[in-house]
């Protein structure tokens, strides 16, 4: 940090210092760091809510929070984790890495980049602050289904406004990312020679531009139903609550892939580095990512098999959903083939990547189970679904974020992180994650519904195992915070190419990456 400060002063005499630097910065590395810190803070906020939920579920009956507050916690936990933790983390990676990876000096629209970030804290404040208004936060679930979201109090309006602001931020961020990638690549870097992380973000950014406006439209209609006498979803006036579900999930399913495609990109860098082999099947990886993105637009109905669609509709959404397993399988097999006969070492990023490949695949398979309409009709709204999406989001998205952070921390800070503590963090996380979420499969199969603070006594043991795992998992993440702070403050000096097997333009600049890089575009070979 000190070094980069000094560097900034040498180069730019009028760069503000202290807090003002972060309010006014247009530097992609500063903004990337702010996104990462914001994401980590929101991760702990959302994690705290999850622990209150798990504490309540430790025993049957109502002990800690009343059912209203429980519903509010599940709603805001999800919104905070999705829009506050996972998405900003990937945008943080994009800000730091895309200019470094394509050899650009900064993002295409540096000022808009600053604005994209500074929209996030007010939105998060609205979201989390809604707990303090009369009636408490929105309790409709993160999907904001009517009629609950029409009946709710002022907190629903705050949530809708927060979603609008975060959507605007995402669209601006996406415009920035696409323009940077398409217009500012180093000479010689053709599209099919771009690093995988850049490819996955290019596709993700298009998904964001395609579906964020649809979500904005849906929540705007909710708002007018609530306050301006329209009847889009209000059955009393001839509206249809089911229509909200269709529009919401038209956004919601691509959103799921928005949260996993950049993860695929990060993993596609870590595995080749530590297997010391080229990524197996680069072009099939690109096509698989694009296929997943395209398919994501025609599978939304699998979130609502139980609303009474015609059998033909159910069948279409079932087969379309199963089809996604094909490109996803291509990616998983490519990662395994990359490791096959490689000279593998298991530093912390590689541990997270291997953990990702194994555990994400479990989540993928439980998703395939849920894709089968008759099975889903039984399992809909049970803990099986909760287990499924935590396997793809925690051991998918979050594992890749953790792995990516360990992988690029030497480049960002100039220091190697503490490898022993990093490995300890991985093992604590991986083990407690499975203690937390694996029993939830059994709970769901046995019929325990999600989003309910109480449960029948026969579910007690598995819930207690899950809650103990959750507390272990939550507190293990404090170790991550400690490792990151320790790495920023000092540690072994990182070389420009911090990992023996690493490839890419970002490893050609010194560590820590100077405040300004690639002022003249590098030649890409």
């Amino acid at each position: 940090m000190e070094a980069s400060h000094a560097h900034a002063h040498d180069d730019h005499h009028h760069a503000p210092t202290g807090l003002a630097r972060y309010f006014t910065t247009t530097n992609h590395k500063d903004i990337g760091s702010m996104y990462m810190w914001f994401s980590l803070i929101m991760f702990f906020v959302g994690g705290f809510m999850a622990l209150v939920i798990r504490a309540e579920l430790f025993q049957p009956g109502i002990q800690i929070v009343n059912p209203d507050v429980f519903n509010q916690l599940t709603t805001i936990h999800a919104l905070v984790m999705i829009f506050g933790a996972v998405m900003p983390a990937f945008v943080g990676f994009a800000n730091w890495q895309i200019p470094l990876m394509v050899g650009a000096s900064d993002m295409a629209f540096a000022r808009m980049n600053n604005w994209s970030f500074w929209l996030m804290p007010p939105a998060a404040t609205l979201l989390v602050g809604s707990f303090l208004v009369p009636g408490g936060a929105a309790g409709s679930g993160w999907t904001l289904y009517p009629p609950l979201s029409i009946q709710g109090g002022i907190s629903v309006d705050m949530t809708i406004l927060a979603v609008h602001i975060m959507g605007a931020s995402s669209i601006m961020g996406s415009i920035n990312i696409i323009t940077t990638i398409l217009n500012m690549r180093a000479p010689g870097m053709t599209l099919m020679r771009m690093p995988m992380f850049v490819w996955t973000w290019l596709i993700t950014a298009y998904l964001l531009i395609a579906v964020m406006p649809v979500l904005a439209g849906a929540v705007t209609m909710l708002l007018t139903d609530r306050h301006f006498g329209t009847h889009f979803f209000n059955a009393a006036g001839g509206g249809d609550p089911t229509m909200f579900m269709h529009i919401f999930w038209f956004f919601g399913h691509p959103e799921v892939y928005i949260m996993i495609l950049p993860a695929f990109g990060i993993i596609s860098h870590i595995i080749p580095t530590f297997a010391r082999k080229q990524l197996f099947g680069y072009s099939s990886m690109v096509y698989a990512t694009a296929s997943i993105a395209l398919l994501s637009f025609i599978v939304w109905g699998h979130h609502m098999f139980t609303v009474g669609m015609p059998a033909a509709g159910n069948l279409f959404f079932m087969y379309a959903t199963m089809l996604i397993a094909v490109p996803t399988g291509v990616k998983v097999f490519n990662w395994i083939a990359t490791m096959w006969r490689g000279s593998i070492t298991f530093e912390t990023p590689m541990l997270f990547a291997v953990g990702f490949v194994s555990l994400f695949t479990i989540g993928g398979f439980s998703g395939l189970v849920l894709a089968v309409t008759p099975v889903d009709i039984t399992l809909h709204n049970t803990y099986y679904v909760v287990a499924h999406f935590h396997y793809v989001l925690f051991s998918g998205a979050i594992f890749s974020i953790m792995g990516g952070a360990y992988y690029w921390l030497p480049k960002w800070t100039g220091h190697m992180y503490d490898e022993t503590l990093g490995k300890l963090h991985f093992w604590l996380t991986a083990i407690s994650f499975n203690i937390t979420f694996f029993p939830q499969h059994f709970l769901g199969l046995a019929g325990m519904p999600r989003r309910i603070p109480d449960y029948a006594p026969q579910f007690t043991e598995f819930n207690q195992i899950s809650s103990i795992g959750a507390f272990l998992l939550g507190f293990s993440q404090l170790l991550f915070l400690y490792v990151v702070i320790k790495c920023i403050r000092g540690g072994a000096k990182a070389e420009a190419k911090a990992w023996e097997g690493a490839e890419g333009l970002e490893w050609t600049v010194p560590s820590p990456a100077p405040y300004h890089t690639f002022e003249t575009p590098p030649q890409f070979h």
């Binding site: 295409a108 217009n183 500012m184 649809v214 209609m221 009393a236 269709h246 529009i247 669609m309």
Partner: protein, 183 residues
């Protein structure tokens, strides 16, 4: 790459404009889903909210029995009692049947309600023809008023044979505020 003479800033601005247009088009697409959805429901006959009188067609099929269940519920905050007086009836397809619902306004003030029907299974909806129904209009009840209301219906003979039981649920919504001067 088409225009090499343009500066990077110009090319970036052009790209941003194109992407903004895509975002705007997707916003319009999201709003267009509303009429599109209604159209789909109309065409496929799964519209749950058809509230206009229809005429019956076809003859009675005495060889088939269909069980029709009637359910009554109030939406949040509607302070009256609402019950189905004939909760289960056996009908032959094509046979015209009348059932009654009763509302007692237990509140101390005038209430205007609108009932919205919902079918299970939803595939039965197109075959369930209502000749007369209290759900066609808003219903006004003075304070303390009690009234019985009719549903006259026919289940069409071409109802798919795998459906032998239909549930029809009415939910009453309080529309007093919106009905305003009308009473």
């Amino acid at each position: 790459m088409a225009d090499m003479s343009a500066t990077l800033a110009q090319r970036n601005a052009l790209m941003a404009r194109k992407l903004l247009i895509i975002a705007g088009m997707m916003g319009c697409f999201g709003l267009a889903l509303v009429p599109f959805y209604r159209q789909i429901c109309e065409v496929t006959g799964i519209s749950q909210s058809r509230i206009v009188a229809q005429s019956a067609s076809g003859s009675v099929d005495p060889t088939r029995d269909v069980t029709v269940e009637f359910v009554a519920s109030n939406s949040n905050g509607l302070g009256w009692t609402f019950e189905a007086l004939n909760p289960i009836v056996q009908v032959h397809p094509g046979q015209q049947t009348t059932v009654r619902y009763r509302v007692v306004n237990t509140t101390g003030h005038r209430v205007v309600g609108q009932a919205v029907p919902s079918y299970a299974p939803s595939q039965a909806a197109p075959y369930f023809k209502k000749l007369k129904c209290f759900c066609f209009d808003q219903q006004t009840f003075a304070a303390g008023e009690a009234r019985d209301m009719q549903v006259v219906f026919v289940v069409e003979p071409d109802l798919p044979t795998d459906i032998s039981r239909i549930s029809l649920s009415y939910t009453f919504f309080d529309v007093t505020a919106e009905s305003g001067g009308k009473s």
